[in-house]
Symmetry: C2
Subunit: 262 residues, 2 copies
C-alpha cells in the first residue's frame, strides 16, 4: 500500500509546512497555431481535469507561492503572472462530494481514515492567478495527484471539477480588459514574430477579428516593437517582416499605472 504511505507523508508535509484553508489556482495561457491554450491536469486514473494549483508555505509570500507553483508545472521562470480574483464559496469544492472526488482521483482507498486531516476537513479559499507563457518553451509536468498535464484549446476545455471553469472565464475576462490598456504578447510569443502572428494572438484573445491596417497603426503607435529583417520566405507569400518587443518600453507600459493617491 505504497500510495497510502505516500499520501500520508504528503498530508503531513502540507499540515506542517503550508497554510491551512488557503490554496491557489493557476490559469496558464499559452498560444500556438492561432489558438489560445490553457494548461490542465488530469487526476490520476480518472478522466477529470482541473486547473493546476498549489499551496502557500508558511514562510512564503502569496505571490512567491504562485510563481513557485507555476515553475513546478511549466519549468518556466520569469513570466507574467497576476492575481485576478479570490474564490471563497463554501461549496466551490463540492462540485462532487469529497468521497466522489477521492474516488475519481483513484485515492478513495488510500485516503480512507485520513479525512480528519486539515487538508481534507476544511474547504479552501483559493486565490486565482493567471499567467501568460511561451507555449514552445513549456514543459508541462504533472504533480503528485495527476498523471497528465497538457495544453487544451481554450474553446475545447471540458467541464472541469470544482469552480475551475468559472475561474477560466474570469481570468479570460481580465486578460481581455488588460489588452485594452497594456501590450500583451511578450510572454506568449517566441522571441521574434510577424505582425500577422501578433494580430492573430490578439484576435484569439478577444475572440473577434481585427482590421489589419488599423491593427498595424495601433500597435506601431505604442512604439513597443522593433522591426528586424524579413523572415526567410515561406510558401506563396511575400516575405513578412519580423518584429521583436522592445523590452524596456514594454515594461514601461506595463508599469504605466496611475500610482497617485490623493
Amino acid at each position: 500500500m505504497e500510495l497510502r504511505g505516500k499520501l500520508q507523508e504528503i498530508l503531513r508535509d502540507i499540515e506542517e509546512n503550508y497554510l491551512p484553508s488557503v490554496s491557489l489556482d493557476l490559469v496558464v495561457f499559452g498560444f500556438h497555431e492561432s489558438q489560445l491554450k490553457v494548461l490542465l491536469l488530469r487526476f490520476k486514473d480518472s478522466n477529470d481535469w482541473i486547473l493546476p494549483g498549489g499551496r502557500v508555505r508558511k514562510d512564503e509570500n502569496l505571490d512567491e507561492a504562485a510563481y513557485r507553483s507555476l515553475r513546478e508545472r511549466t519549468g518556466l521562470d520569469r513570466l507574467f503572472l497576476q492575481q485576478f480574483h479570490t474564490f471563497g464559496n463554501v461549496n466551490r469544492m463540492t462540485y462532487f462530494s469529497r468521497e466522489e472526488t477521492l474516488e475519481r482521483m483513484g485515492l478513495a482507498e488510500a485516503a480512507a481514515g485520513l479525512w480528519d486531516s486539515t487538508y481534507w476537513a476544511n474547504r479552501d479559499i483559493s486565490v486565482g492567478y493567471y499567467a501568460l507563457v511561451d507555449f514552445t518553451g513549456t514543459v508541462p509536468t504533472p504533480d503528485f495527484m495527476a498523471d497528465e498535464c497538457r495544453w487544451w484549446d481554450i474553446a475545447e476545455v471540458p467541464h472541469l471539477l470544482f469552480d475551475h471553469n468559472e475561474m477560466i472565464r474570469l481570468a479570460l475576462r481580465t486578460l481581455r480588459r488588460q489588452l485594452s490598456y497594456q501590450p500583451v504578447g511578450y510572454n506568449l510569443l517566441p522571441e521574434t514574430f510577424t505582425m500577422t502572428e501578433l494580430q492573430s494572438l490578439y484576435e484569439t484573445i478577444l475572440g473577434r477579428s481585427l482590421d489589419r491596417r488599423n491593427f498595424y497603426k495601433q500597435i506601431l503607435h505604442y512604439d513597443v516593437l522593433e522591426r528586424l529583417g524579413k523572415r526567410p520566405t515561406i510558401p506563396a507569400s511575400k516575405a513578412p517582416y519580423l518584429y521583436r518587443f522592445r523590452k524596456e518600453r514594454y515594461e514601461q507600459l506595463l508599469n504605466d499605472e496611475d500610482l497617485s493617491v490623493g
Copy 2:
C-alpha cells in the same frame, strides 16, 4: 482578569468556528461635505488605527463574510461591496512585532500564554474588499479589539498598522478605475442630491476638478438620473434641481460586463 477570560473565549470561538489563515479587511468609503471618508478603528488603549476587518466562518461564503463584517461595523445592509485584492506577504502583519502589536492593543498581559493559538501563531492571507456607503445613515461601531470607530478624511488618514495604508491606496485606485466605466454614487449619496453634489463626489474620488458643463453632459448621457423638483433655495444662489438615481438603469450599468467567453 476579566479581559484575559474574554480574550480566551474569543480565541476559542475563532479556532472553532472560523477558517484559519484567512482574514478580510474592509476599506469603507463614505462621502460628506465634499470629502471622501474612510472608516477606521482604534485599538483599545492605544493610538494606533487600522481598517475594520473580519474572519470567515467555516460554513460561510467569503463574500457573505465580508457583508456580515461590514454590517457589524456600520449597521448598514444592502450596500456596494467588492473584492479588490488579496494580500499575502509574510511580513504584512509585522509592521510591528507580535509582542509590540499586543502591547499597543493593551492586550500584552491578557494575551500572555495564549500565543500558541492558531490565531496568533500564523500569519494571515487577507482578502481586501472596498465598500461604498451612505455616510449619514452609518452607525460606526467598534469591535471587541477597538474602542473607537470613526470616519477619517481620506487626505488625513494617519499611518496605519500592518499593510493597511497600502490597502487603502489600492482600493482607491480600483474605485477610480471603476468610475470610468460605471456610475458611482448610489451608495455614497443621500436619496436625492444636486448635480453639483454629484460632481463634487466625482471630483473628490478622482482628486481633480472637472468641467461642470462636460460633467452634466456625460452624466446625463448615462441616462441614469431622474430629475425632480427644485431644492428649496439656500443662501445667495439660484435654486438647483434635485436628482435621484434611476435604480433599474443604475444596476443595469453595473452589470454591463462583457460576459461572453469564446
